[in-house]
């Protein structure tokens, strides 16, 4: 990892998010002097790769930053000798996402991209591809860090931790998003805000909020009752105030699926009848975005990208790479192997917690807050689902897959689980060779 040869490979480089990342590399070039940047995608995505790649080139030129940009469909070439590999892939593309959202709805179950049965389907499609990428990294760039943004990020990261030797960190924009929102509430800089987050990806609780070292958790909880921290793709329904007060920790946006599944399901069903599922909405947004990207006069990240939902991904990603590259020893909230940090979860699972970031990676910091039985219990059962999902994805085991879905609180019925599983396996059969 030497300054004059820093190489980064972005797998799924044809993604509509890529301009975010390019902007991040431009802004941080002084600290992070990238020499070679590879955007790589699959042949089916080559057209998009070229569109977004051309925009990226214009952005780099406009900013006068000497990063060598490479567009390729040769993944091995991109990975070879890389210092960092990032993944932001969508196996089966938005059509698969649409199915992930629709199948559970048929059986009155939440249909969501990363949570519940939809997340399960995405996981078992994605894990084999990620593990293939890992084999290439092991061979071609054994010292590289794999930074995984691919959802369900916690499960995918766990699969890598369990089934490869690649150094990996999983990353989500929820922590940084929470930090940003608290900063805006208190009218301070994001760096003045410290959070203690405990849990797993898309199911973590903020157990302490400090602004310049002063504990403001109570204020944040009071505020959250009304306006709520939310993300683009999840309706903001507020929280039951007596629940929040008693839990004494801030749930994340995805908790709404666990805490108010009936309302959330009702809303999903209604929306699916009017505007379609979230995948349908995203498809349109993406089409618009790529039309924008084609404009040869566009030389910066277009504002419209923010609608897309992945706010702050670039901040999170570049911040993490910077801290590793510069051995910064600052604190970030990322997904790592548990190894006893959350004592109530197995050692070998992924968790999302505060870590010190240095050149060796992410080092979890001991959690101060004792987990209440509620937080612990919900974490444990969802993590059990995730462990079963990783095993099912790797082994292609029908029974384990069935156990995974029954264990998930948003499925939780053997008849329903079996029907959903059979639909998922049938509709995704091209992407699931391990289940044949």
């Amino acid at each position: 990892m030497k300054g004059n040869s820093l190489k980064i490979a972005v797998i799924g480089g044809g993604s509509s998010y890529t301009p975010e990342l390019i902007e991040g590399f431009i802004k941080n070039y002084n600290e992070l002097p990238v020499k070679e940047l590879y955007l790589v995608d699959i042949p089916e995505g080559e057209e998009k790769l070229n569109i977004v790649g051309s925009l990226a080139k214009r952005m780099l030129e406009e900013a006068d930053v000497p990063i060598e940009l490479h567009l390729t469909t040769d993944r091995k070439k991109a990975i070879k000798g890389a210092d960092f590999v990032t993944t932001q892939i969508r196996v089966g593309m938005l059509d698969a996402r649409a199915r992930d959202e629709q199948i559970p709805l048929k059986y009155n179950r939440i249909g969501q991209e990363t949570t519940g049965a939809g997340g399960f389907a995405k996981a078992i499609r994605t894990i084999p591809v990620i593990l293939d990428i890992c084999k290439e990294i092991e061979e071609l760039a054994p010292d590289a860090f794999l930074l995984n943004f691919t959802n369900p990020a916690g499960i995918v990261t766990e699969a890598v931790l369990k089934h490869s030797n690649v150094k990996t960190i999983g990353l989500c924009n929820l922590p940084i998003g929470t930090q940003m929102q608290v900063a805006s509430w208190f009218d301070v800089k994001p760096s003045d805000v410290s959070l203690e987050m405990v849990g797993i990806n898309h199911l973590n609780w903020t157990t302490k909020v400090e602004v310049n070292g002063v504990n403001v958790t109570h204020d944040v909880l009071t505020r959250a009752n009304n306006s709520g921290l939310h993300v683009k793709n999840i309706p903001d329904l507020g929280w039951e105030p007596q629940l929040l007060k008693s839990i004494n920790a801030l749930p994340c946006a995805y908790h709404r699926y666990y805490y108010m599944p009936e309302q959330m399901l009702k809303e999903q069903i209604e929306k699916s009848k009017t505007e379609g599922t979230r995948a349908d909405v995203v498809k349109e947004v993406e089409n618009d975005l790529f039309e924008k990207y084609k404009d040869p006069n566009l030389k910066v990240k277009p504002k419209e990208l923010e609608k897309r939902g992945g706010a702050y991904y670039s901040e999170a990603a570049v911040q993490l790479i910077c801290s590793i590259y510069n051995n910064k020893k600052d604190t970030q909230i990322v997904n790592v192997r548990n190894n006893g940090l959350i004592k109530q979860l197995p050692d070998d699972v992924s968790i999302e917690v505060n870590c010190v970031i240095d050149r060796n990676g992410a080092h979890p910091i001991q959690i101060e807050t004792e987990l209440s039985p509620h937080i612990r219990g919900l974490l444990q059962v969802v993590k059990a689902y995730e462990e079963l999902t990783v095993t099912a994805a790797v082994k292609g085991d029908y029974g384990i897959a069935l156990q995974a879905l029954i264990t998930h609180p948003l499925v939780a019925d053997s008849d329903v689980a079996k029907k959903i599983l059979d639909d998922i396996l049938r509709e995704n059969r091209h992407y699931l060779p391990q289940f044949v």
Copy 2:
């Protein structure tokens, strides 16, 4: 605990189950020479106490067994100097049970005596009464064993373990019932059957079945697909065979509420419209029984008692007392403090596992089978609910109560939880001074 002065106090002695217990003491008099047997009940239950007490006297006389029988409403007198205290109480009697079953059904949730929101209501009514009894035992019979049969037996036992110094063991008839059923399938004596059960009361898995030392787990699982092990008050819906094979352990009857909640709920709703809830059915059975009991010519346990649902309670109870009294060191499946036996649960909770029984009580035996993520996850989330329930019951804390219900997989929604909780607190207000 000397042979010539063995004293047993049965709290809730006016229960319709009492003749079972009397029969047990008669059959085992040689091994267990009870000198004094106190049947004690509350003033409101005095009539029933007298009816069942008279039958008990006739039974003892008929069998020519010199146990001194005492009927009383003075609980302290019964407890004083007792060697064993058993509890089989129903705070609020069958009317309260009827409400426990009806309230959840209003919100499309399972309405059941020991599981889900119904069990929660029963627990918070019962725990304060049991802890009062414990205070009396601490004072009047500090060396006595409290054998708790009162449902929800696991939660009530946990409350005693956490909030009193009384030596206690929780007891259920499911383990012995399973042993009996396996014995009948293989046409052997119950004592030829060994089970390894792992879990908590009304949520345990049989992970190994041996007949005369030969592992027959596979056979039992195959059989269970079709006919199923079942108890009187739970419909026998069979199990999803691929699930059972994959889990490789036999669920207990109450798992049906967790594994097939939609069907179970549907059936409960239908039944409640035709024959009423289980409480309504039991009321009739009990009325019939007490009519029978009044017959001065009845001098043995009437056959109709078996319909009542608590088969083998007497076997389980007397077997446990015998083994303690005689320092037998045999193996029984009972509810005790975890203390690390199930590593994935907290130390201070109650679990239901194989124990060596001797004069000092029940000593858990290490579990051989590694718990799969599915079993572990479900156990953990339901145990978290139980822990919250104990705390809510002892402290009368609304927020913790809300957390308990949201954590339970059969409620799992904050709006629904709040509505159910408010109904429970309102309808049981006379029994819940701690929540005022």
Copy 3:
């Protein structure tokens, strides 16, 4: 394991202890109808095997017990299809033991067969041989139980648990000896005495003593101050009474090396000058015994055998085999995999604790007594030594061997450790191919 074909292989069958074992099989024939009994030894031991084997034959004939006795140096033949394999071997024979005792003494360290540097030397000589036997059992008798009496029994058992798939239980006569002694003190039958023992082989504490269910621990501790529980080969120096009272548990005989090393060392040095080391004494005893064994008129176990030191071995061994064979579910104190029972030790080490014995083996019972820091700390450091010893023995790693010796409280100095290790490796080089 069928009654009409029960086969037992005794490896090291030419041992002077064998008549003990034969007597045990004779006494328990009704419960344990052995069909074939193989005594097997190495070619160098063939003469002794024939002497002791002939006596064994005479004993069986005299008792009119139809066990088929086979004497052989073909180990595979003995193992093939066996139900139980027992080992009582001494790699390097008594000459090696003499060296094990002498080398540490040169450096002012305890020289003892199973404890300290002497035990280390014996362990690294023995483990490779035992693992060879295990390979043969895996191949020729995969369902057999290996009952290991070979010292240091805890370390050897741990090596088998970690490095083979053979079902194994380690066995020592200390627990049964303690039980016998308590029985004699209280003038009751041994079966009236229950002990809770906690620890590892040759370093365990009796934390509770019950006679017919009554706790007599305090009495036993008071008595132990003066007379002490002891074994043949360890001087009985009594215990510091204030220490014993404070620890509130009875040390085992081998604790004397840990609690009063200066006195013990002094005595060893003196004795080595007068009567030689224990090995020298044993050699003479053995010579006398074998002379006795040769007498064709001797048809029972000679009384003199009791001087030899291994009292109750036969009781312990036959009792264990009986309980497995008959699926007895009684409690015995044996060496098994920890697996979390002693929470303060790693899962994969051997411990010596109370177990339920059934056809599947030994199932540890939860320990009631919380371990004090003293007991815990001493156990942990000695177990760390044992773990290092197993690794050193298997890998032949000089550095790990050095760590093992430095870690042992009875060596505890890097200069001394290095000198002792170099002496051991040089003097035992024929038995330590793994270190070349």
Copy 4:
């Protein structure tokens, strides 16, 4: 903790070390604008307090730093409203230290201020005084941090963690000393060096050394064989190279007592005959220092202070206070409650590990290196000694004190332990009211 009112109380302010601390506050005034600095001492130390206090005043004036300096023997006045309280006390002064060093030598045991029986004596004298201070802090400055430098720092810190509610961090100069030495070896700034240290105070291992993010552990180990990292008061004997290579971690200076006790003891005995014990040497150094301090022309820390042995204490202390005060979130190696970080030690003990320091205190970072059995075993047994020592000191329990000494690897004999304990209790009786 507001900038305009920062108050620090230094208990034991009359120590010869104080000029170090004053220099630290002067150098860091910009970051750490101390308003009030209280040096407090006992009446017997008033003369020294005045000498060192006058020097401190001259130093502050010379540096033109507006810190208000207060000298007092009224401890409560000093503590009231303080933000930080530091302790550097010596109960019984150097005469007691001399006895701590001499008593063990009488019985051929290491006589050392913080390790072994000497450290035990110091601990039981010091703990009651520190807990008295804690009571005053709880009452008069409940938000203050207690930074404990008083030896044995790990044991004293553990006593505070277990027996008071005061926020405390224990601090030693060994970690910063190691960092300094590595920096000088590699000719880099100390801030370029990162260490992973694992263990407890005065018994920790450096498991990883990085210079600017590059792992140089192997180099450091090779170098350490010859020259060795050492501190003033411990002879530098080097390490057994094969041991160091196998352990693959750098021992601390105090390990010499554990790894080469025979040589160390020999040297102590020789020195005690020629130059006296370390206490005798220190007495002379101190006398010389205080003579120097009296010189009204001395306005800076005198060079001779470095001979005293506590190099870098001021750096360590001021660095810690700065990071807390400025919410820095940097990494420092300090003594905190374990709480599961070192899984093989109890939760409630003190450990010395890498922590993130912020306004809330010290937050341990997960340890990357798996502890080998050797490190684990030695840590566990010495920690067990420390736990027993804390209990003995608080309860004044003779039996526990005896257990503590027997458990310590440098005593390890019940006769010797009893003799040493009796000597300690007799010679320190004025300081040990809890044992009367």
